[in-house]
């Protein structure tokens, strides 16, 4: 950058304010995160009375013990892993070939397909028609209801298409055709091995959205043993808490059920379960941040 010039006084003041601003932003975001980590290993009596405000106080792992002893959480965890892995695989199988085809300028009809996909970004059938469709397809209470309706996202197809378009040299494709190689061969043997970064980005974007999703499970699953982790979290973090805070007000049927579970899951569990459920992403995040950012940037080039 051009910092070789001497900074004037007002520039120094500006920079100082700028650093101050960013530091405030840092603290505002970081503090709640640190608080949760500390609270998860602190004795609840200190947490609830406010004596624990940054560093753990009254160290205990009871919260984690309760989480690990809770079969519901384990079951939800296993379900989420299965849904995430299978869902992400399906996402890749649908997204990558389509994006590659759309990146080829000699693909007749690509604007038509792209147009068809883009329309869905701005207009959709809405909640009820979507629900009726899933019902008519017989997918209620199956894993299919969680992964098929989100088998691809237009945004990710655009990101992948932009990547293929800008990184796979046209000459490569032309050479392959002269050698008599089929498009299938070209895609699997040459294009995919050159596209590892975008495959990583796609797997991450899709994977995180599967991991974090709760709404499809809420409306399409009625069998609790199939609940993903986020639905179990909803019972522990939201329903229980809400029912405790709003005096006796019933919102929906599952409140009553959550009330029964209330005794079995102590308030201690809250912070630990947040950590445990977010752990896979927290661990991966620093290593993968670069890829996430890359994905957004590739998308924005064409956005």
């Amino acid at each position: 950058m051009v910092t070789t010039f001497k900074e004037s006084k007002r520039d120094k003041l500006f920079l100082a304010l700028n650093y101050l601003y960013l530091t405030v932003a840092l603290v505002l975001v970081l503090y709640p995160l640190l608080y949760i980590v500390s609270a998860s290993i602190s004795s609840p009596q200190y947490v609830n009375t406010g004596e624990m405000w940054l560093f753990p106080k009254g160290f205990t792992l009871d919260g984690y013990k309760l989480v690990f002893d809770n079969p519901k959480i384990w079951n939800g965890y296993m379900n989420t892993v299965i849904y995430t892995v299978l869902g992400t695989l399906l996402n890749l199988v649908v997204t990558l070939p389509a994006a590659y085809a759309l990146s080829r300028s000699d693909f007749v009809g690509r604007n038509l397909f792209m147009g068809m996909f883009l329309v869905t970004m701005f207009f959709n059938g809405g909640l009820i028609p979507s629900y009726l469709l899933i019902k008519n397809l017989g997918l209620i209470n199956t894993m299919g209801a969680l992964i098929l309706p989100v088998a691809a996202s237009v945004w990710n197809i655009i990101v992948a298409r932009t990547f293929f378009h800008s990184t796979i040299p046209k000459e490569l494709q032309e050479a392959a055709h002269i050698d008599g190689s089929t498009n299938m061969n070209l895609f699997i043997r040459i294009v995919l091995p050159l596209s590892m970064p975008i495959i990583a980005v796609m797997a991450l974007f899709y994977g995180v959205s599967h991991w974090n999703s709760y709404f499809p499970a809420l409306i399409y699953l009625n069998d609790e043993s199939k609940y993903p982790l986020q639905m179990v979290l909803r019972q522990i973090l939201v329903l229980q808490e809400m029912s405790a805070e709003t005096t006796g007000a019933a919102i929906s049927g599952d409140i009553a059920e959550a009330m029964n579970n209330k005794a079995e899951i102590a308030s201690l569990v809250k912070y630990a379960v947040i950590i445990v459920s977010t752990l896979p992403i927290v661990i991966l995040y620093p290593f993968l941040q670069r890829y996430f950012v890359q994905g957004v940037m590739i998308g924005s080039v064409k956005g």
């Binding site: 520039d11 080829r104 693909f107 007749v108 059938g125 809405g126 009820i128 808490e241």
Partner: protein
């Protein structure tokens, strides 16, 4: 490996191509796009077929096609209902609050990031502020509820430290929108900077050098060089955001909603969920949802037209 056999290529591909030949040569590409095509046809265009029940009296045993037409009856019922204006007001006010607070913040943050040299500090702030983007809605709602719990909430105690009597944020309608919008900003402002940072990396350093020679301060340069560079990006995102003015999602609100804050937390999408899936009034809530989508589509087209007229940038 790149560029193998480049020498022989030029004449072979282009000239021989009639469209028919191109299609035959690339038939596999249609195979490639088939899964995505089927997916969008079934799961996105399929529900669009179902929209017709907004104008019918849908009876499951008769099916979508076989149910009887009733015209605009469901729409009339919605527009004439006593909750119509409340729903519309809640949806619009949350949207505008989000736009007014949530939209400029990432821009300011990105401009601030841009003034800082690449280094440990910048990297730390970025890593930390991006992180909440990956927190799930459920965990986010759980955090909000826990931190605002009147008996033990962290934020409540922070406020009380200053000797102020903290309100029951989630139980008072007056506070719901603030809580909703500010927590959203906390979660997404950092991540929102990425797209602007990408645009800012395109600033021509020569402009800065010239401005420095002319004695422009850092602040002036930020305002007159950096900001104008990202105006097209800002415009596009603004169009997309205003096009979604009635699109306040149900996922987070449903989690934070309770009977005490309902008055200000009930928006069109949560109403559609409740009347449609909880009370099974399929046709009526489809009509409400359709009203919502149509307003969004009209807004998007209008804002895009305005942007087209007044600036160079537009979606199409």
């Amino acid at each position: 490996m790149k560029g193998t056999g480049q020498q022989a290529v030029q004449p072979t591909l282009r000239p021989s191509g009639g469209i028919g030949k191109k299609i035959r040569q690339n038939w596999e590409l249609y195979l490639f796009i088939a899964p995505a095509f089927l997916y969008f046809a079934i799961f996105h265009y399929g529900p669009m077929y179902g929209i017709q029940i907004a104008f019918k009296n849908f009876i499951p045993s008769k099916g979508i096609f076989g149910s009887d037409w009733v015209g605009f009856q469901h729409f009339e019922r919605f527009f004439n209902s006593h909750y119509f204006w409340d729903l519309l007001w809640n949806t619009l006010s949350i949207s505008f609050l989000e736009l007014a607070i949530g939209f400029p913040l990432p821009i300011i943050l990105a401009l601030a990031f841009n003034e800082v040299r690449n280094g440990f500090f910048k990297k730390t702030v970025q890593t930390v502020t991006y992180a909440p983007h990956f927190i799930s809605m459920v965990v986010m709602a759980g955090m909000i509820i826990t931190f605002l719990s009147p008996s033990s909430g962290m934020i409540i105690r922070l406020i009380e430290m200053f000797g102020i009597n903290a309100p029951q944020f989630l139980n008072e309608p007056a506070w719901f929108k603030t809580v909703y919008v500010l927590s959203g900003v906390w979660q997404s402002a950092g991540w929102g900077t990425i797209i602007y940072l990408a645009a800012l990396s395109a600033v021509d350093p020569q402009l800065h050098e010239a401005a420095i020679v002319d004695g422009a301060s850092r602040f002036k340069r930020m305002l007159h060089i950096n900001l104008p560079t990202i105006v097209p990006t800002i415009t596009i995102l603004l169009i997309l955001n205003t096009g979604n003015i009635l699109g306040v999602g149900y996922e987070k609100i449903l989690l934070l909603q309770n009977s005490l804050n309902m008055e200000s937390s009930d928006v069109i999408s949560t109403f559609v969920y409740r009347s449609g899936l909880v009370s099974a009034q399929y046709s009526f809530s489809t009509a409400v949802g359709l009203f919502n989508s149509i307003v969004n589509a009209i807004m998007l087209i209008m804002v895009n037209q305005i942007a087209k007229r007044t600036s160079e940038t537009s979606l199409w």
